[in-house]
Each structure stands twice: as C-alpha cells, then as structure tokens.
C-alpha cells in the first residue's frame, strides 16, 4: 500500500478521526468516572495518575468530561451534517431537476441565506430557540444546509447532461432509476468531501455556541462550555482550558486533513 504514503493527509486525518470515533463510542467507559461527580477535595487538582487531565473547579474528572464531550461533539456534528445533507441535498437536487423558474427562485432564497453569516444565523436561532441539544442541532443545521444545496444542485445540473445519463434516459429508464442508479453514486464523492470538512466546521461552531452559553448547558460536559468555565482559572489551572482546547483543535485538524485527503483521492481517481 504505497497509496497512504502518497496521501499523508488521508492517513493522518483518518487515524485522528478513527481515534475520535473510538473516544466518542467507548471513551466514557474507558474513563470509568462519572463526569458529573463532584469531589471538592480534589478541586482544580493538577493532572495525576488518578486524574490524567486533572480536575475542574468542582473536582470533576476532566478526562471523563473530555471523553463525554467527544461523544456530544461528534454526535451533534454528525447529526447536523447528516440533516444538512438530507435537507440541502433534497432542495438542491429537486431544484436542479425542476429547472427554470423554480430553480431560479430556490437558488435566490439560498443566496439570501448564504448572504447571512453562518455562525450568526446559528447564534440568532439558538437565541430564539433557547439552549438545549435538539435546539442546538436545529440552529446548526440552519447554517449548514445551504452549502450542500448548492453543491448537489451544481453536480446534478452538470451530470444531467452527461452522455451516460442521456443514454439511460434514451433507454427508457424511469427518472427515479436514473436518480438512484446514475446520479446519486456520481454525486457521492464530492458530497463526502464536503461532509467531512462540514463535520470539522460544525465541531468548531458547536464549541463556539456552547462557549457563548447558547449550546449544551452545564453541567452537561461539552468542549465549548468546559473552555468557558476554565477561563476563570487560566493562571492557577491552565489544564482546564488546555484539555478541551486541544481536543477541539485536534478534532478539527483530523476532519480537515481527512477532507484534504479524500479530495486528493477523488481528484486522482476521477
């Protein structure tokens, strides 16, 4: 396998993302401590064997909280990207297939939403909906779907004119068959690349919203609200900001590298 050596982004990014997934799935069991258990005796304790990432102001184990935070962060970001993909893909695909006036109207609407800065849209939505995980997912999806709508529309518009699609149409294939057998597989590649970058972006946006107090609310551990809580103790307990900060950075780095790698892979094969 010389492929991985030629594409280090894919290898490193893939490895980081794999570790993140393991952390999200099994981390809470590996940490085997209650992320909410308060132990004032070890408040602000520095990292030690018993508490590898130390303890926060209430003596809660930071390692356990980072692991639960990984579950929340990955859970929220994959749900948001999945929902954005469905909503954006359906709207973009339908718009392209409908064509003409409908397409024009839909794309103007998408342009207006795109003219609105994404994180601001999410902040405004979260402000109105109130904090909470479901509301957080809705607010972030409101920001995420437009990119997919544009991408899928563009892909479908160009694929529709390919010869093999014309051939399928000429052979009398039903539109649904053309869509499922011929268009979807061809769209999958670019969509996978954008979805990978999208997860990284949403991890950052989720952390920012939770940091601002508009996402996951304490005591639920999320990387963003851990960072916010740790800021008070910058000088005496820097590990409180370092642990979630590095987690966010590594997670975003992992998905960015994986996206770069997938894009290079798609570029070579297609």
């Amino acid at each position: 396998m010389s492929g991985l050596a030629k594409n280090p982004s894919l290898a490193v990014g893939g490895a980081i993302v794999a570790i993140l997934i393991v952390a999200a799935l099994f981390g809470p069991e590996i940490a085997h401590r209650d992320p909410l258990a308060i132990d004032l005796a070890s408040a602000l304790a520095a990292p030690s064997l018993a508490h590898p990432f130390g303890c926060d102001a209430l003596g809660r184990d930071v390692f356990a909280r980072v692991m639960w935070g990984a579950r929340l962060s990955l859970g929220v970001s994959t749900s948001v990207v999945f929902l954005s993909l469905i909503v954006g893909g359906l709207i973009g695909g339908a718009s392209a297939l409908a064509g003409g006036r409908v397409d024009n109207l839909v794309m103007r609407a998408v342009d207006i939403v795109l003219a609105f800065p994404g994180i601001l849209l999410a902040i405004a939505m979260a402000a109105i909906l109130g904090p909470g995980l479901i509301d957080l997912v809705i607010a972030l999806t409101a920001m995420g779907w437009t990119g997919f709508a544009r991408l899928v529309r563009g892909e479908v518009l160009s694929l529709r004119e390919r010869e093999y699609v014309h051939a399928a149409n000429a052979l009398g294939a039903r539109p649904s068959r053309v869509l499922i057998r011929h268009l979807l597989p061809a769209v999958a590649g670019p969509v996978a690349v954008q979805a990978t970058f999208g997860i990284g972006g949403i991890i950052g946006a989720e952390a920012a919203l939770s940091f601002l107090g508009l996402g996951a609310l304490p005591p639920t551990p999320s990387w963003g609200n851990m960072l916010d809580a740790g800021r008070e103790f910058l000088l005496i307990a820097p590990h409180l900001t370092t642990a979630p900060g590095v987690a966010i950075g590594v997670a975003i780095l992992g998905f960015n590298l994986l996206g770069d790698g997938l894009a290079a892979l798609a570029g070579r094969s297609g």
């Binding site: 207006i112 800065p117 601001l120 939505m125 910058l234 900060g245």
Partner: protein
C-alpha cells in the same frame, strides 16, 4: 467604472432587503414567545399582554413587518428594552470597536500570511515550506476560543507584555487581533503558496529568469502580482468570517463591540437589540462581500467591469 459601482450598489438593495426579511423572520417566526422568554413562565397574563402591546407584537405580522422595514429605511431600529435607548444609537456606539478589531485582525492575517506563503511558495519542499505549512494547518485548526485563552496565559499572565482584556490603546488590540487573524493568515498563506507554485511554471516567469533576474526577484516582480488575484478572491470570501469571528473574540477579551452587546442582549432577552445587532452584522457581511467583488476587478484587469 462609476457605472459599475452604481450597479453593484443597486444590486445590494434586494439582498439587503432579503437579509432584513430573514432577520425579521428569525425573531418573529421561530417558535418561542419572546415576551414569555422576557418575563418568565409565571408572569401574569395582563403583564404579558402589556409587554406585547409595548413591543407592538400584538399587531398583525404583516403590519409589524411593514413597520420594521419602514423604520429601517430611515435608520430607526426601535428601542432597546434593557438600555431604554434607541437601538441605532447603541449600535453606532459599539460598531467602531468591532470594525477596529476586524481591521486589526485583517492586518495581522496579511502580515503573517504573505511572508509565510512566499517562503513556502518560492521553495516548495524546502524546510521553510514544511514549517510554514505546518504552521498553517495548525492555524486553521486551533479555534478562537482556545487560541485566545492560550495567548492570554502566555503573553498577558506569564510575560505581562499585553493587558488581559478590554479596549484601550494599541497594546489592548494586539492579542485579540492575533487571535482573530491567525486562522485567516493560515488560509491565505496556503492559497498564496499554491498560486505561486502555479505561477512559477508559466512562460513569463521563464522569460524573466532567462533575461537574468534572480528567482526571488522574478517571483517578487512578476509572480506575486499574478498570484494576488486568487488571494484577493479568497480574502474577500473570508472577510465576512472575520466579522463573525470578531463576535467570538470580543467575548473572550471583553472587547466592548457589537458582538459582546449581541450576546448580552440575548441573555437579557432584549429582542429589539438582538434584531438590530444581527441585522448590522449581516448587512456589513453583505457590504464586505460586494466590496470584494469590486476590489477584485481592480486588481485583475482581465475581469470585465461590465
């Protein structure tokens, strides 16, 4: 040129109207009653009705929308509930601080990105390239909300070079600006490197080299200008992000700008102020993007102004 400028400004109107409509829809159509949110679940129905009347929320939606747009047309954004002052005045007071921060962030981004991108692009594969691009990938990945506290620990608490928070002289501006500009610097440096590498293979570069220019001089004199067009495009796409990034950086450094006022307004349930801040952010984003198109056309003469 002037005709082009006027056309672009006219094109701004429908987009601005759309953005205003979306802002209105966000505040008024998203489920959740702002009045209940403001006064709490246990408020007496009479109080709720009174507040609703005061805010004009008891009128039909179409009337509220018309009032909102009409007010907007002459700069009236209503009155803030928590400050008891016109929203437009509050925004006019805070917005310069946000612009100052965003401008400084842009300056930092450019100052870091150009040397890095040039070193990397001039000698791809060299140690300088690997180092610069390593920095770039780190810069893209480190979120503001971590970089900010990190810089605070290092340069404010440990080294005591810069003040921790607040707005004042130049010293106050450095850490927030670096926090805001680093990610953008990384993105621009990567783009500049790519364009320079592409430019190096072109015929005019070979001509410049064959007439005896040193590789660095040729790249500086002929390559950089041609690489600039793609950098300016990217810069424009990212400038809006600088504004929203400022929103978060303001929270980290207690910077008294529009973003901090927006977040405070959200927790105070001051909906007229939330609406005004969101609208101002969104409209500046639109204006910045339009301006970029224009600058792009000036940098690259091949782009027709028609």
């Amino acid at each position: 040129m002037i005709r082009y400028l006027i056309r672009r400004m006219l094109a701004l109107i429908p987009v601005a109207l759309g953005v205003a409509t979306l802002t209105f829809a966000l505040i008024h159509l998203v489920p959740g009653d702002p009045v209940v949110a403001m006064l709490g679940d246990t408020a007496a129905p009479a109080d709720l009705a009174g507040m609703r009347h005061q805010l004009g929320l008891d009128r039909p939606l179409a009337v509220q929308y018309a009032t909102f747009i009409a007010g907007l047309a002459h700069g009236d954004l209503g009155e803030s509930i928590s400050y008891r002052q016109p929203v437009a005045r509050l925004i006019a007071e805070r917005f310069p601080a946000t612009l100052e921060l965003a401008g400084a962030g842009l300056l930092v981004a450019v100052l870091i990105a150009f040397p890095l991108g040039f070193i990397a692009g001039a000698n791809p594969g060299s140690a300088g390239d690997v180092g610069a691009m390593g920095f770039a990938i780190l810069g893209i990945s480190v979120p503001h909300i971590y970089l900010g506290p990190l810089l605070m620990i290092l340069f404010s608490l440990d080294l005591r070079w810069f003040p921790l928070t607040g707005r004042g002289g130049l010293a106050h501006l450095v850490l927030p600006a670096v926090t805001l500009g680093t990610a953008l610097a990384a993105i621009i440096a990567r783009m500049l490197r790519q364009s320079l590498i592409a430019v190096r293979a072109s015929d005019y570069m070979r001509t410049a080299l064959s007439k005896g220019l040193s590789p660095t001089a040729a790249l500086l004199r002929h390559g950089l200008r041609n690489a600039l067009t793609s950098v300016v495009t990217l810069l424009g796409l990212q400038l809006g992000g600088l504004l929203t990034g400022a929103l978060i950086v303001e929270m980290i450094f207690s910077w008294p700008g529009l973003g901090r006022m927006l977040i405070a307004a959200i927790s105070a349930r001051d909906y007229p102020l939330v609406e005004g801040c969101v609208l101002t952010f969104a409209l500046s984003y639109v204006v910045v993007n339009m301006t970029t198109d224009f600058v792009y056309a000036m940098v690259d003469p091949r782009v027709s102004l028609k």
